[in-house]
Structure formats: C-alpha cells, structure tokens
C-alpha cells in the first residue's frame, strides 16, 4: 500500500487502483480477504464513506465479493477481468503519451520500435 494519497484526485479511485494493482500482481490472490472500509479509513485517515465507494465499485465490477459478517474477498476471475480492463486502456494511457512525446522529440516510428525491442539491461548487473 502506498504511504499517502493525493488530495487532487478522487480518493476512491486511488483506493480502487491500489486494490486492482495488488490483485493484478498477486499481492492479494483470489479468495483472499481485502482490507475493510474501516481499515482503509484508519490507515490513510480518510473519510470511511470515501473508502467504501472504491470498494463498492469493485464489488459491482465483479472483482470483490462480500461474505456476510466476515468481509470482502477477491473473486476467482478478478485478476483476469482486471488485466483485460487495463489492456483496453493501455493504448490511451501509455501509448498515446509516448507517441506524443516521441513526436515532440522528432523520434521516428522506426526508432521507437527499435527502443521497444531493445533488450532491457537495466536489471542485469
């Protein structure tokens, strides 16, 4: 979990995105419990209604489900649903800004493709 939230963006979206990331990278797996509204509120010192909104949206999208009296849990299909969803917005969120910056710097399409294919050596020390 991040240490603090950004007051200039809707808090429920930030809560939602964090849970989504945790599910996608399997920090929280299918059938596992996620923190409750109150736990989020206490951790980040945010209004509980705000935390609840983020969690409720994930329930509506089939990512979380409620076990009465126990808490919120990750659904079986959650990871798959989220990956599909994120893929759809990948072009808009990552490719478009990349292309517009490349254009600004006069980087050609060929050069871009070369960069994508270049082997990443930054992790190999």
């Amino acid at each position: 979990m991040k240490n603090s939230l950004d007051d200039s963006k809707p808090i429920f979206l930030q809560i939602k995105e964090q849970l989504e990331d945790s599910i996608i990278n399997e920090t929280i797996k299918a059938e596992e419990r996620v923190p409750s509204t109150n736990e989020f509120a206490a951790y980040y010192k945010i209004n509980p209604a705000t935390a609840a909104k983020g969690i409720n949206e994930l329930v509506a999208e089939g990512i979380l489900f409620k076990r009465r009296g126990v808490g919120m849990f990750v659904t079986e299909d959650a990871q798959q649903i989220l990956i599909e969803k994120r893929k759809k917005s990948f072009y808009e969120n990552y490719m478009l800004p990349l292309k517009s910056e490349a254009e600004k710097l006069r980087i050609s399409a060929m050069e871009l493709i070369e960069m994508v294919e270049r082997e990443d050596t930054s992790n190999e020390d």
Binding site: D6, D7, S8, K9, F12, A41, Y44, K45, N47
Partner: protein
C-alpha cells in the same frame, strides 16, 4: 440531525458577517467549513449552537430553532479555539459539568484522552498552556458524543503529533457511531481527506457546497497553448486563468478526460488550493 440554514444574515453594527446564506446539511457526515478570516464561519457556528441570534433568516435543526432550546443544545457541542472553559475550574470538574450536560457523554473516552494528552485531572484550566487547553477542548468535544459536534479551529498551540492523534481518534469515533461533525480550520491540507462534504464561505456568502470527492474529480487545472486552453474553457465556469511564456494555465470545473481530448495537460486541484482561488477572487471579478 438535519440542519437547514435559511436566508441567514448577521450584522454587527454596519458590517454584515453573514449575508443571506442558505444551505442544508442532510445527514451525519464530516463537513469541512472553510473560508478566510472574517468569512463568517465563527458567526455561523455561534448561531448554529444557539449562542447568538441571527439578524435575519433562521437555522432549523430537525425543524426547531436552536436558540434558548435546552433539548437541542444538549445535542450540540461547540469547541472554539480558546476560552471554552472557566479558568478557575479543575479539569475533573470541567469533565463533570459536561457529563451532566451531554446525555451521550463517554467518560471512559474522556479519561483515555486526558491520559493520551498528558493532562492532569487536578490541574486548573488557568494553569494550562495553549496546547493543553486545546487538548482539553478536543477531549470534551469528542467525549460529548453530541449528534452535532462543531470544532472551530480547535487546536491552537497543539503540536503536529497531537493533532494527528486527534484526527485518528475523531475518525475512530465517527466510524463507531456516525454523527454530524462540522470542522473549521485553516490547516486544510491536514484534514481535507477526512471531509465528506466541503462548504466554503467568502465575505459572508456561501460560494461552494460540494462533496469532497466531486471536487477532487471536477476541479482541475489545465495547461497548454492559449488557443487550446481558451477552446476548452468556452462555456465552462473558470476559476482563474494565468499565462506565462505562451502557455496558459486555467483552473476550471470540468473533467480530466475531456481536457485530455483537447490535448491539454491536466492536474487536479487540492481542496486547499481551491479554497485559496475561490476566496482570493477580487471584488467585482
């Protein structure tokens, strides 16, 4: 409890502290009441808690006027920035008096907080430092468990860790039992995440009442070429425009996705900043 503010005005001699203010607080929520010095916040809270009468209009709490209304005043606890308590009383006597007055008084919480803030039950109010007096105010406000609890800049002299503890305990209490908490402060960035709804007063008038999350979503700053920015701003409520080196930045109510379609850089505006822009607007602008 439902709070209805109808055409509320208050004049002190020639100066209008509140000028025909109307709004409704429907549910128990944590409300942030913001504005610059002299905006009318304290006057509003004094009228709400039944301490003074308005010059015009009225406040109704569940349909009743709070002035001189015993049944209502025991549902309202107002903690101001100072002089909340008689100087000659010992802390334990202060707690006793409030415990008689507030039917939901939580003595255990009061004693926990007294300990948390290192206060001594036998100390007299007049011997307390500013910070300690604030800590006592916070203790009483939280322990009152009044359905309407109002904090008007309650922590003068209180250090940062003590304020943080206050926010935590307030949140715990709110989670255990929802109540209307009206919070007025200048330290907005410290508490804005706690607010569910925000009200901003300027020179005696209400300039904004909105869900905090809606503000975070809709109040944006956009930057780009003057042409593009002006194109985006057309027909929108613009809070401020500024310009440097051919780049225009504007603060506006709009959506980030819409601004991106216009090819603009978008950032959210924190609530503290929004308050500054909304209340700095020059007269006649």
């Amino acid at each position: 409890m439902k709070i209805e503010v109808k055409n509320l005005s208050k004049k002190y001699k020639e100066k209008a502290a509140l000028n025909n203010v109307s709004f409704t607080l429907d549910e128990p929520k944590i409300y942030g009441l913001l504005g610059r010095n002299g905006a009318g916040k304290t006057t509003f809270m004094d009228i709400l808690s039944g301490q003074i009468l308005p010059s015009g209009g009225e406040i109704l709490i569940d349909g009743e006027n709070p002035f001189d209304n015993q049944r209502l005043t025991e549902s309202i606890c107002l903690i101001k920035e100072g002089n909340n308590f008689k100087k000659d009383l010992k802390i334990k006597n202060v707690l006793k008096i409030y415990s008689y007055f507030y039917p939901n008084w939580d003595q255990e919480l009061a004693e926990d907080l007294i300990q948390e803030y290192n206060l001594s039950l036998n100390a007299k109010v007049k011997t307390l430092s500013k910070g300690m007096e604030s800590a006592l105010g916070i203790t009483v406000g939280l322990a009152s468990k009044a359905p309407i609890t109002i904090f008007d800049e309650p922590y003068i002299g209180l250090d940062a860790p003590s304020r943080k503890r206050f926010y935590e305990i307030m949140l715990e209490e709110y989670q255990t039992e929802k109540r209307t908490i009206i919070f007025s402060t200048h330290l907005i960035d410290e508490v804005s995440l706690l607010f569910e709804e925000v009200l901003i007063l300027r020179e005696g008038s209400l300039v904004l009442q909105e869900e905090a999350e809606t503000l975070r979503d809709n109040a944006i700053s956009v930057s780009g070429s003057i042409e593009k920015v002006e194109g985006f701003l057309a027909g929108k409520e613009v809070i401020e425009r500024k310009q440097l080196a051919g780049v225009m930045t504007a603060y506006v109510y709009g959506t980030a996705s819409d601004a991106k379609v216009h090819g603009l850089e978008v950032e959210g505006i924190p609530i503290q900043e929004l308050m500054i822009y909304l209340t700095e607007r020059k007269k006649g602008a």
